[in-house]
Symmetry: C2
Subunit: 129 residues, 2 copies
């Protein structure tokens, strides 16, 4: 398979796949013409990556997860721990965004949004020092 094929099948941009090769996440063979030659195993890894990235795992997490996936002797506890830490970070991020949203939506609600200069949003921003 050429890069275009795996790109379509793994739903990843070709650019991203080249980058993943660069950082050693996947190691396709090479045809005599210099084209990357992907095996099923490579496609499988890329699909794994695609899914893991969709779930928000960092590239480094992905690297670890793939190593665990390949290791028949792994303990599911190791996988779970990574997912739990990641989950916590997601929760933190959500909380942070919700705090922004709450403040912002209140400010937006209280702003007339007309031609006049008076604006509670700017007032809030400038309220600091």
């Amino acid at each position: 398979m050429n890069i275009g094929d795996v790109a379509r099948r793994a739903s990843l941009p070709a650019k991203t796949i080249r980058y993943y090769e660069d950082i050693g996440l996947v190691k396709p063979l090479r045809d005599t013409n210099g084209y990357r030659a992907f095996r099923d195993q490579d496609l499988h890894k890329l699909a794994f990556l695609s899914r893991a990235r969709t779930l928000g795992f960092t590239i480094e997490d992905c690297r670890t997860l793939m190593a665990l996936y390949a290791d028949q002797e792994r303990a599911s506890a190791d996988v779970k721990r990574i997912a739990e830490v990641h989950l916590t970070q997601i929760d933190d991020k959500i909380a942070q965004l919700e705090a922004m949203r709450d403040t912002l939506s209140e400010l937006v609600r209280s702003c007339a949004g007309d031609h006049r200069p008076d604006c509670p949003i700017l007032k809030d921003l400038a309220a600091g020092v």
Copy 2:
């Protein structure tokens, strides 16, 4: 005021303040020794920036918001529009993170997390192609 003073008062790292000067958000004077000399007006701008960044506005949004703040002829509608767009982006981001969280928490819940290799999390990740 030196950079350390405003850093403390605006709760911003000195590094960040230098960066803001670099990109033209604030223009402190200079003492004869080369030190930045911040006026109250500069401090005020930095506090404004600090608050706006806390609410997640991009630097470019901040630039626009500060211009509107300075413009006595502004229409509050212009400010509100920026805030609304930003709010929408925050909502999108939250929705995306919640989707991740839902999937992930279910996977974490279903994983035994013991010494055995069997792991629903990895199974999900590899389920693609």
